[in-house]
């Protein structure tokens, strides 16, 4: 009965193993801030910061604010092998940086769907798409034709039909033509663009553009609910000055916001004859009714943000201590009734008094507004270094008499806040528990690191009546805006499965690797695995152009292998299951080691080989 005894024992063991595998995650964090995330535990949200002129996107966890990853977009990153592979080099084009301002998450039915993150490049007029499956940049579109200074993006429509883009600068069109700056008002133009998103692949292409006067377009947002189909942008310099803008663009008491009906623009392009310029249909709003309207907004505005309901459109004039609330229902009525106070270059200007719901005295230097979904708005105050919390309409009579009563709380931040973010604020269902203030200066807030200091991010608990500062962290230069999304909305892959690798030069078996020559073009099919390259010797002649197709045949999470070639300005970094192609010119005779740059195993240091370059 040995067999039976063994089996009895086995059943007992099974029971014991079952008991032992439970994990307890109870922790009492007495005294720890609410943002404390113990070692090994995970944050509730992903926070995607724009990296400003670093050209990158930073990913942090929230509430801990700990940085998790950098996603290189417009700037090479040897640590990611980005900007070294053939594909990423092609994608980046001739540019070595970008100026990332406003990340925008893709949406389905007005809520985040975790598919893509779009970011803009203010400097080189581009937009990029990052896949949230592998946190990699997949496409860079641009320079966008006719567009100069892509600041006013990336604003995503409720079903990711479009990425809406507005130019910050105006130049003579078509781009590349010349006119003296003195003829700015006659010869210069701005543009707003609808970047079409393919729903299956995410592929971006410019769908249409609308010509604007040479204002400087600033920030925007997209509508929803009653304002679905619309996009909103603020502008400064309706003075149309071309020099000393600090003074000359700050003269008028009111500037214009543009209310653009993108559904109408789409219709115009589909049904009517629209001139194309540089291959893109360019709509003149004076000729096509219903595409664009101007709305007077308070002086030199920055942010314009549609509320979660889509009814309230909130614009902040940074040189006036108020934030203006427009009622989109009234906007529709005004358009129907042609209730205009004039027109500007053939574009109707809506009657301010008919559409304004109120001006809220939030404080000095209001920039940008976010919403918690509970009827509260939060406006960053740049000059005051504070965040004001205030109530959206409907307001009672008493408040309407004294709008200062709408402001319910205020908290100081350190210092000079630009943007702020509440997860989901630009969707129809915000997650209103946290707010992150992105501050421009950090002096005195931590150890000094010399003249170049990072920015600060401050985490504010907005779940209660009063805002409470919980946590502060330093963020690499320079976040302009962020998007935050609950962790469970995103479903990242951790390895590229072998069957999904469609690189035509991928190799999976050592016996299929090798070096082939065609004239002075040498092709190397190589694989990497713990802890070896196959082949680990590559012989070439001086002057050869050597193309490596390197497949990392690992299929387990986190097993990345690098490929640094000494003195050849090359570090390929290949994720598990991925194939990357990179090319070097072997112009120096000698023997050059290549080695694994990404620590992979106990024998990582031994993971190396030689590139022999024979002299001619």
């Amino acid at each position: 009965m040995q067999h039976v005894k063994l089996l009895f024992l086995a059943v007992l063991t099974l029971g014991l193993v079952g008991c032992g595998s439970g994990s307890s995650s109870s922790n009492s964090n007495d005294g720890a801030p609410a943002s404390y995330v113990p070692p090994g535990e995970k944050d509730d949200y992903y926070l995607f910061y724009s990296g400003g002129h670093s050209g990158q996107v930073f990913v942090a966890g929230m509430p801990s604010l700990r940085e998790i990853q950098t996603v290189p977009v417009f700037t090479p990153s040897p640590g990611h092998g980005y900007g070294f592979s053939k594909k990423s080099k092609e994608m980046m084009g001739e540019y070595r940086w970008g100026d990332v301002h406003h990340p925008g998450l893709s949406k389905t039915d007005g809520t985040y769907d975790g598919r893509w993150l779009f970011v803009n490049d203010n400097a080189n007029n581009r937009v990029a798409r990052i896949s949230l499956r592998d946190f990699r940049t997949k496409q860079i579109l641009g320079p966008i034709p006719n567009s100069m200074g892509n600041h006013g993006s990336s604003f995503v429509t409720p079903n990711t039909e479009y990425l809406l883009v507005a130019t910050r600068f105006s130049v003579p069109l078509p781009k590349g033509s010349h006119a003296p700056v003195e003829t700015y008002q006659e010869n210069f133009n701005g543009i707003v663009s609808g970047v079409d998103i393919d729903q299956e692949t995410g592929e971006m292409s410019v769908g249409w553009q609308v010509k604007t006067p040479p204002f400087n377009w600033d920030l925007g947002s997209t509508g929803k609910g009653p304002s679905d189909g619309w996009a909103f942008w603020t502008s400064y310099n309706t003075e149309m000055a071309h020099d000393s803008l600090e003074i000359n663009a700050s003269q008028r008491d009111r500037d214009f916001a543009a209310f653009v009906n993108w559904e109408r623009a789409e219709e115009v392009v589909q049904n009517q004859d629209v001139n194309t310029r540089n291959g893109v249909p360019l709509i003149d709003p004076a000729e096509h009714e219903g595409v664009m309207y101007f709305v007077p907004v308070s002086k030199s505005p920055h942010g314009i943000d549609a509320s979660p309901s889509g009814r309230w459109i909130v614009a902040s004039g940074k040189l006036q201590p108020t934030t203006t609330v427009f009622d989109f229902e009234q906007v529709k009525t005004a358009i129907e009734n042609e209730d205009f106070q004039g027109e500007f270059r053939g574009v109707p200007v809506l009657n301010y008094d008919s559409i304004v719901e109120g001006e809220v005295p939030v404080g000095q230097g209001p920039l940008h507004t976010q919403y918690d979904g509970e009827g509260n708005a939060y406006t960053s105050l740049f000059i005051e270094s504070a965040v004001a919390k205030w109530s959206l309409p409907p307001w009672d009579e008493e408040t309407k008499q004294d709008m200062s009563q709408a402001v319910t709380d205020k908290i100081n931040v350190h210092y000079n806040i630009g943007h702020l973010v509440i997860p989901g604020s630009d969707t129809k269902e915000p997650y209103g528990d946290w707010l992150v203030a992105m501050n421009k200066l950090k002096k005195d807030r931590g150890l000094s690191v010399g003249p170049e200091m990072p920015e600060t991010s401050q985490l504010i608990d907005i779940s209660g009546e009063e805002m409470e500062m919980i946590e502060e962290d330093y963020t690499a230069p320079e976040p302009h805006f962020a998007q935050a999304v609950p962790a469970d909305v995103i479903d990242p892959i951790e390895v590229y499965k072998q069957e999904n690798n469609d690189h035509p030069e991928a190799r999976w078996e050592p016996e299929n690797t090798g070096v082939t020559r065609n004239g002075d073009q040498v092709t190397v099919h190589m694989i990497s695995k713990r802890s070896q390259y196959y082949p680990d010797k590559v012989e070439v002649e001086q002057g050869d152009e050597v193309t490596f197709h390197l497949t990392n045949i690992e299929q387990v999470s986190d097993m990345i292998h690098g490929f640094g070639i000494a003195e050849h300005n090359m570090n390929g970094v290949v994720a598990p299951g991925e194939t990357k192609t990179f090319t070097i010119t072997a112009d120096k005779a000698g023997v050059y080691p290549f080695y694994c740059t990404n620590f992979c195993s106990a024998l990582h240091q031994e993971m190396q080989g030689y590139l022999e370059v024979k002299p001619q």
């Binding site: 009895f8 059943v11 099974l14 193993v17 695995k529 387990v556």
Partner: protein, 219 residues
């Protein structure tokens, strides 16, 4: 006790009662089902593999966790200590064990059909032998893998024997090894066989008691 032994030849010819024959049919079904279920699982845990690496041993195949990837990973790791890659081809018995289990299922049905204790005992004895042999064979393979380490391997470790049941620490790994549903069914099958015999014994005993009652009354 001796009395009981004396009665065995008689017992072997006895018939299994109908409820016992039902047990035999149940045993036959469980044997057939066990062919499709994992018999054993080896689970490896290390600091960097908190989620664990899993090997499932079926009667006819070797299956690994993470869509088969865990086996590649185990072999990758074993390569450092010079252990030969674990491959399904090395488990020759996987080609015939499913058929043996099928044969035992038929034998159980046969015993149920004839309904004699003898046929049940024959099946049970053969089956227990088969079980013991399989366990030994499994153990022997684990032993062979872990004792024939390549002396040129990057890491030098003492040859070892992976644990058959229970858990054991090997370098940075803790190995857990335990039977799965398939083995539980095989155990239940043994219990069915034993139960059928027991019913026959008890019935025999009851009949014996009945027969002997008048005798004891006169004594």
């Amino acid at each position: 006790m001796l009395d009981f032994l004396n009665r065995i030849p008689d017992l072997l010819d006895r018939r299994v009662p109908d409820s016992g024959r039902l047990l035999l049919v149940a045993g036959a079904v469980m044997l057939a089902v066990s062919i499709f279920l994992p018999l054993w699982q080896i689970h490896l845990v290390a600091p960097q593999y908190q989620e664990g690496l899993d090997l499932y041993i079926h009667s006819h195949k070797l299956e690994a966790g993470n869509e088969g990837q865990d086996l590649t990973e185990i072999n990758n790791l074993n390569h450092y200590i010079g252990m030969a890659p674990i491959e399904e081809e090395d488990f020759a018995e996987m080609t015939f064990i499913p058929f043996l289990l099928g044969a035992f299922s038929l034998l159980a049905l046969r015993a149920a059909f004839f309904g004699t204790v003898k046929s049940v005992v024959d099946t049970l004895v053969l089956f227990v032998y088969f079980g013991a042999f399989s366990m030994w064979r499994f153990y022997y393979q684990l032993y062979t893998y872990a004792h024939n380490l390549d002396p040129r391997a990057p890491m030098d470790i003492e040859p070892f024997t992976p644990i058959l049941i229970g858990w054991k620490k090997i370098a940075n790994f803790t190995q857990y090894s335990f039977p799965r549903e398939g083995s539980a069914l095989l155990l239940l099958t043994v219990l069915c066989f034993a139960g059928a015999i027991w019913m026959a014994v008890r019935q025999d005993h009851a009949a014996y008691e009945e027969e002997s009652e008048p005798e004891s009354a006169t004594a």
